[in-house]
């Protein structure tokens, strides 16, 4: 018998009696977690799947985005007949702590001051995001997750789940992620943050109170980051040196289609994302180093995760979190004696392939989750 719990999600509130204790030592006494669910929890509560979203993602995995009106960001993976199927799985996705789609973040009102947190919001980390997700999972009455699944920053949260709550996981899927941020990763994020902070409308993070938005800075941050999500061949194939109009402008308009595309990416991003959230979440990514927190040995992070079935996936043309990073995760999982599978998916679409229709991604996910579901006794 199926039991429906919050079939479309909502917001869960945690008060000062259940503070979120952060790695930095600070705590959030007022935490709201916005989440979406798809499907229904089965009677023995064994079919719950948590999806962890990426840097600029949110909880709207497979349903229309309330701001943009676009379909969910992972309809290739979540939906009827997809690897994660609401007919079979109870799928949960929550907006991360520090985010701007309903979960407490720098743009939220601090109940203690009645003003937006702004830079008074504490620095958050990937482990903090995961702890908040665990609080949500608890609140939904779920003891163990059939799977925790995520790509990019979501994949890092998956690894953190395996390190912090292995006994609550049956399986884990980590796509195009890394066990730590590299110098290059940090460098690109720093470009984005500097672009935001250089915008005169940023106002030391106090823009909300002053009635402005650092849209130009945030758009530039998005443009720089967006390049890292694509591959050189994909950019070349899509745009080459094609012009927007006939002939050059002999000025600084967007002559090339690639310029126009990036400007569009930047401009549409600012409609749905908050600049301070971008600062905080990129910081959380930069601070991520799973091995460092475990005596410098990544395998130690997975010492308690021997009972978890892992699936690690990477893309050949991803230069943001390249295959070598996924391999280091797999090596550590093997060294820890975990049950790990790994596929490097051949594609020229770069990091963005996570969100695109990649047949091998879909068959690998379907195979892994179906086989796990059989062992778990899911119908």
């Amino acid at each position: 018998m199926l039991q429906t719990i919050g079939a479309d999600g909502g917001v869960i509130r945690f008060g000062p009696d259940q503070p979120l204790r952060l790695v930095s030592g600070a705590r959030l006494n007022h935490l709201e977690i916005a989440y979406q669910t798809y499907g229904a929890l089965n009677a023995d509560r064994s079919n719950a799947v948590l999806i962890c979203h990426a840097l600029t993602g949110d909880q709207h995995v497979a349903s229309e985005h309330p701001v943009t009106g676009k379909p969910g960001w992972w309809t290739q993976v979540v939906g009827p007949g997809r690897p994660l199927d609401p007919a079979k799985h109870f799928i949960i996705c929550s907006n991360v702590v520090g985010g701007c789609m309903g979960t407490t973040g720098p743009s939220s009102i601090d109940p203690e001051t009645g003003r937006p947190y702004g830079l008074a919001f504490p620095v958050i980390t990937i482990p903090d995001m995961v702890r908040a997700q665990a609080m949500l999972v608890d609140a939904l009455g779920i003891e163990t997750l059939f799977a925790v699944v995520g790509g990019s920053m979501g994949g890092m949260q998956v690894l953190q789940w395996a390190a912090d709550y292995p006994e609550r996981l049956f399986s884990a899927v980590c796509i195009a992620a890394a066990p730590r941020h590299s110098a290059q990763n940090i460098a690109f994020h720093e470009v984005g943050r500097q672009a935001i902070m250089a915008d005169p409308d940023w106002r030391d993070g106090d823009y909300a109170l002053q009635g402005v938005r650092p849209e130009k800075g945030l758009a530039v941050a998005r443009m720089a980051a967006h390049i890292t999500y694509l591959s050189e061949p994909a950019l070349q194939r899509k745009f080459g040196r094609e012009l927007q109009r006939d002939g050059l402008s002999w000025g600084f308009d967007a002559d090339f289609q690639v310029e126009s595309y990036l400007r569009h990416q930047g401009a549409s991003f600012v409609d749905r994302f908050d600049a301070n959230s971008y600062l905080y979440i990129t910081r959380a990514l930069d601070y991520f180093d799973l091995a460092e927190a475990h005596g410098g040995v990544l395998a130690n992070a997975f010492a308690r995760a021997r009972g978890v079935r892992f699936c690690v996936l990477s893309f050949t043309s991803d230069w943001l979190y390249p295959t070598v990073e996924s391999r280091s995760i797999v090596r550590a999982l093997n060294a820890a004696g975990c049950r790990a599978s790994f596929v490097e998916i051949e594609t020229d679409k770069g990091h963005d392939a996570i969100f695109l229709d990649e047949p091998v991604l879909r068959t690998a996910l379907t195979g892994f989750l179906e086989a796990g579901g059989q062992v778990r006794g899911l119908k």
Binding site: C311, N334, S341, F342, V360
Partner: protein, 220 residues
């Protein structure tokens, strides 16, 4: 190089029930599946093709995409009881390194190779003066993946060189049951079409307890 039923059957006989097995070049996971069902092993695989790994995932197997020459270093020391390298040693770039790696990763290695010393191969070369193409060596020289073909004597000598002990050896031929052999006997180097070795490093492994040969696993 396809992996024969005789190969599987002999491996199944050699592997201790409930052991930890790494199958290198596991393809779509047929052997791992069989070992899990028949011998209750805790199996892992290494496979070079993404399609092969995806097929293994669908079977519920834990398989890592990678290549024997490059990625064995990712596996921890003595994480397995057996490392299986079936019909692949002749196709790797560094057979010596790979053999040493197998016995770093596992207590025992099970290695099978086509025997280039088989009489039919020798005769083909003698008679035609061209690279032999036989049942086991089916591809012409310019497209074969086999870059390091060897004979039973060659492999025996290499194991000697590397201080590796041959605990057991069998001759394999299509359609016939495996036959235990003494690989140091020159006549076996003529007779064996393929050879399968159970290897260990002296001082690292207790003597193997091998189940007696059976004939009924494939319902014959």
């Amino acid at each position: 190089m396809s992996r024969s039923r005789e190969d599987f059957r002999e491996i199944l006989r050699l592997v201790r029930p409930g052991s930890r097995v790494l199958d290198i070049g596991c393809g779509e996971g047929a052997l791992l599946d069989l070992l899990a069902r028949e011998k209750d092993v805790d199996g892992r695989g290494l496979e070079i093709s993404p399609a092969g790994v995806a097929a293994c995932l669908a079977r519920g197997l834990a398989v890592v995409q990678g290549d024997a020459d490059r990625d064995l270093a990712d596996f921890p020391t003595r994480g397995f009881d057996y490392a299986i390298l079936s019909q692949t040693l002749q196709a790797v770039r560094e057979p010596r390194t790979v053999l040493n790696e197998l016995l770093r990763i596992a207590e025992r290695a099970i290695v099978s190779v086509p025997n280039f010393g088989h009489w039919r191969v020798r005769l083909a070369l003698l008679a035609t003066g061209r690279m032999p193409m036989t049942g086991v060596l089916a591809e012409p020289w310019w497209s074969t993946p086999n870059i390091h073909l060897c004979t039973v004597r060659d492999l025996t000598a290499l194991c000697d060189d590397l201080g590796i002990r041959i605990e057991a050896a069998s001759a394999l031929a299509d359609g016939r049951p495996a036959r235990p052999i003494d690989p140091s006997r020159e006549v076996e180097n003529w007779r064996a079409e393929q050879a399968l070795f159970l290897l260990s490093r002296p001082g690292q492994a207790a003597p193997a307890e091998v189940a007696p040969p059976t004939d009924d696993l494939f319902g014959r």
